[in-house]
Symmetry: C3
Subunit: 146 residues, 3 copies
Amino acid sequence: MRLLSFAILVLFATAPLSAGELSRTYLNSPLAAQHHLPFSSGVLVGNTLYIAGTTGVDPDTRGPVSATQEARLVMNRIEHVVRQAHMTMDDVVSIQVFCTNLANYDAFNNVYKTYFHGHFPARAFIGAANLLFGARYEVMGIAIRR
Amino acid sequence: MRLLSFAILVLFATAPLSAGELSRTYLNSPLAAQHHLPFSSGVLVGNTLYIAGTTGVDPDTRGPVSATQEARLVMNRIEHVVRQAHMTMDDVVSIQVFCTNLANYDAFNNVYKTYFHGHFPARAFIGAANLLFGARYEVMGIAIRR
Amino acid sequence: MRLLSFAILVLFATAPLSAGELSRTYLNSPLAAQHHLPFSSGVLVGNTLYIAGTTGVDPDTRGPVSATQEARLVMNRIEHVVRQAHMTMDDVVSIQVFCTNLANYDAFNNVYKTYFHGHFPARAFIGAANLLFGARYEVMGIAIRR
């Protein structure tokens, strides 16, 4: 339930644009707002979406899930931000995965692959020393609307 | 004094543009030039600024400062690059923070928040194994002029 | 020989564009395709190239090379992706280097410098906990065609 509410995003539109200016929309989750976390889940500028670093862990419960379940949670959240920007995962062009245990590489990939159809984004996969909330993965990226 | 000189940026404009080409400007600090460091502090292409990974440590003195002071130094330098590109911090759309000790998360955030008004950039916060010059934080990002 | 084949890229063009839409091209290596790796080596959208995280290690042989040789291999691969997108290294605007041992900073830089003429990209240099295939470096970046 908490996880669900975390995934519900609210769009804040910015002020009206002057001629030639790119639109700018901030995507935020109620949970992030509630915790006064100093970041947006995504920032959409024109057709380019900058997706925040996202984990598959609930910051309150931090309940244990498997490496596979956590991969699914983090990718679901990424997909949610992408959809709120009226895009699909196939619009994602670049991804960075930070991972605290490279032994989870295959578990992550097996989940990750299912989110794309046809071509994959460019991607980096980096071994992090640690991540907030004991997360196994933190994923960020860039999507560009077709 | 060294820290001050480090923060003074020089703009190098590129050659005249052909029609339709985006302008490209390299931002560099005299200290980086003096040490022949192989990076620019920022690269501005059209209205998009790519900000280099920036620390709050002086590469010469490496003098000890608190986690809070170091956060302020690194954010001051980020802001300086942003201003040299004739933008404000509210033009920043994406930030990555690499941090050698996640226990400094709150200390960093308390400083970080004060640099923005209204909405925050998308952000990732990653536990790094270590950083150059014994830095606690390395911050990089992207800004887009409104 | 494997390393060579790894560096040979194949371009897959996307479907014809509707008016005003940016072109999108996925760059892939035969080795990545053979191993069903879930990423593209690069994604070119209009004039902007998103370069995947790239190592200087062959995923099969993982044969030992020096820190200097590995730096050259990874930068050769980055350059190859850039050239396949019909750009040069001087079009690169942003680079991230993840490095498992900061003692290799100078070895990396001495090689890295030789790939650029005039100005350098903005760059971050981050100490990673570890990298896939035991790599010393993983390099990713963004290039924008002039």
